[in-house]
């Protein structure tokens, strides 16, 4: 909602922030307004804004990292010291605590108040919910405050999240709690994995960080495909559910043209056709991208036999450039306890191979790029599958040795043999 000009953070006499004020212009909410408001209660926030202003002016970052750990934990606190401590004494120690959020970020107001109260009591009381890390971040604690806040948080049923070379706090979309597209119980999965791997989350020991994000369907509201080493994405096998009455209603309402323009031609694999008032979907070629379902959400639904696809390897630039994930397990059921055991067994095997053979600061995607997917699959005991594609083929020429004519070393003068593909071999499955 647009705010009126005079609504913006009223100026605190201690503040001199012309560059930051620019960020308040425009109709959007601004962290500067929020912090200005808050600086009336907490003096260190005014110093924080002044230091940030100085950073903007000189294009320099005045924070230094250090190490601070709560007893028994190897991570969860991002410790920062200010280089300008003599000018801004309250910023001398300004640490951030990472807190594991509830699955799907569903808080009750009571819990949210509780969290805010604790952070306000022991520190600057700035909360950031939620960045790409997926944690709830509480900013502005000094050393003593960090320990006191951690005690208090744990007494109230919160726990610290992951940082450093550890499993990071899991993140998932709201899934079956609120969304009809969800193909599996994302919140249960997130909670189960957090509890199962809590040691790996609290005590860093990997080569480098490992993130798991969980989305109920290919719409990927948790940003898993680009933002996590191991996205778990909901999908289905077999035919999509079609309600033909609703399809006819939809066509009646919007017109055939609308359906052709927005559904049929926008299917990435062109596998939908329109027969009169009936949609026909070639399920063999559907890649479960969710587009048609999003548009005609009343008429179409994901198929009945649902499960997850597990991918690997998204990361930002470090050893190699940014990558997105690619498929490692095309389909896995995720309903019974046994299914969950299969999932953890798979994760264990991948971690073991990565951890035994990875190099320092090498994420699993870079590791696979270095050793090759074949070696990785062999090391983890996973069967190769044609669906494990990183990018689509650009050359149409394929050399299948077993299909090629037998005598490669034949003399040049010989007529090349022409190999005819048996037509029957095309109609194998289905």
């Amino acid at each position: 909602m647009a705010k009126k000009k005079d609504d913006k953070g009223t100026n605190n006499p201690g503040l001199n922030t012309p560059l930051l004020d620019e960020l308040e212009a425009g109709p959007w909410p601004s962290f500067v307004s929020d912090l200005k408001q808050w600086s009336k209660t907490k003096p260190q926030v005014a110093q924080l804004l002044n230091q940030l202003e100085e950073s903007y002016e000189n294009r320099w970052n005045y924070w230094t990292g250090t190490v601070l750990n709560v007893s028994g934990y190897g991570g969860g606190v991002i410790a920062r010291l200010s280089d300008k401590a003599d000018k801004y004494p309250d910023l001398a120690e300004f640490h951030t605590i990472r807190i594991i959020p509830p699955p799907g970020f569903v808080y009750s107001t009571e819990r949210l108040r509780n969290l805010a109260d604790i952070c306000e009591k022991h520190g600057a009381g700035i909360l950031q919910l939620h960045g790409l890390t997926g944690d709830a971040l509480a900013l502005g604690f000094d050393n003593e405050g960090t320990f006191a806040a951690a005690e208090d948080l744990m007494a109230n049923g919160w726990d610290l999240g992951g940082s450093g070379a550890a499993l990071r706090s899991l993140q998932c979309c709201v899934g079956q709690a609120r969304c009809e597209m969800a193909c599996f119980d994302t919140m249960k999965t997130s909670r189960f994995l957090t509890n199962h791997y809590i040691d790996f989350l609290h005590r860093p020991e990997f080569m480098y960080k490992f993130k798991i994000k969980i989305s109920g369907c290919a719409n990927d509201c948790a940003n898993a495909m680009i933002g996590s080493d191991m996205p778990i994405i909901g999908t289905w096998r077999g035919p999509m559910q079609i309600d033909h009455e609703k399809v006819a209603e939809y066509i009646e309402e919007k017109g055939v043209e609308h359906v052709i323009d927005n559904v049929i031609t926008r299917c990435p694999t062109h596998c939908i056709s329109l027969k009169g008032k009936e949609l026909v979907i070639d399920d063999e070629n559907c890649v479960r991208c969710m587009h048609c379902i999003n548009v005609m959400h009343k008429a179409l639904k994901p198929g009945k036999d649902q499960g997850v696809t597990i991918c690997l390897g998204a990361k930002r630039t470090l050893k190699i450039g940014d990558t997105m994930s690619s498929v490692i397990v095309p389909f896995l059921k995720l309903e019974t306890d046994e299914d969950f055991e299969n999932l953890t067994d798979l994760i264990d095997r991948m971690w073991e191979f990565w951890n035994d053979n990875g190099m320092d600061h090498e994420r699993i995607g870079e590791f696979i790029a270095r050793v090759g997917l074949g070696t990785f699959l062999e090391g983890c005991g996973i069967e190769p599958d044609p669906r494990m594609v990183q990018s689509t083929r650009t050359s149409p020429y394929i050399n299948f040795e077993e299909l090629a004519p037998g005598d490669f070393e034949g003399e040049q003068t010989q007529q090349p043999k022409v190999w005819n593909r048996e037509p029957e071999s095309r109609e194998s499955s289905s």
Binding site: G72, G74, L132
Partner: protein, 117 residues
């Protein structure tokens, strides 16, 4: 800051790391452990020796990864079983085992990992 060992004053920094690493001796390490409230037993001393040897050989301190792989790797066959060793380390040194061991072994303070995000 300084601590007294056998009547000699040994210079340490705020967190207890030695200022001059040549000052290290078993008594010094014991004194620092006392300061941090750790009762040195054979397990602790063995690890301190391991840290010193490792540092001499590689010029870096062992990371948690190295500890869990090399020493923990002797427990059981599976990855999960190796992790048990980490639990044991946190029992010996509840606040950050690697940093504490560096301190007791008279090694430089470990650097923060450069990528937190």
């Amino acid at each position: 800051m300084a601590i007294e060992v056998n009547g000699k004053m040994i210079e340490i920094d705020e967190e207890g790391f030695l200022v001059d690493r040549d000052d290290w001796s078993e008594e010094v390490s014991e004194a620092i452990a006392n300061r941090d409230g750790i009762d040195l037993k054979d397990e602790h001393v063995g690890l301190i020796d391991y840290f010193r040897d490792y540092y001499e050989e590689h010029q870096v301190h062992p990371t948690m990864h190295v500890l869990v792989q090399r020493i923990g790797g002797k427990i059981g066959k599976k990855f999960r079983e190796h992790k048990e060793y980490e639990k044991f380390l946190y029992m010996l040194f509840p606040s950050d085992p690697v940093s504490e061991l560096c301190k007791l072994a008279g090694l430089p303070k470990p650097l923060p990992s450069e990528h937190d995000g």
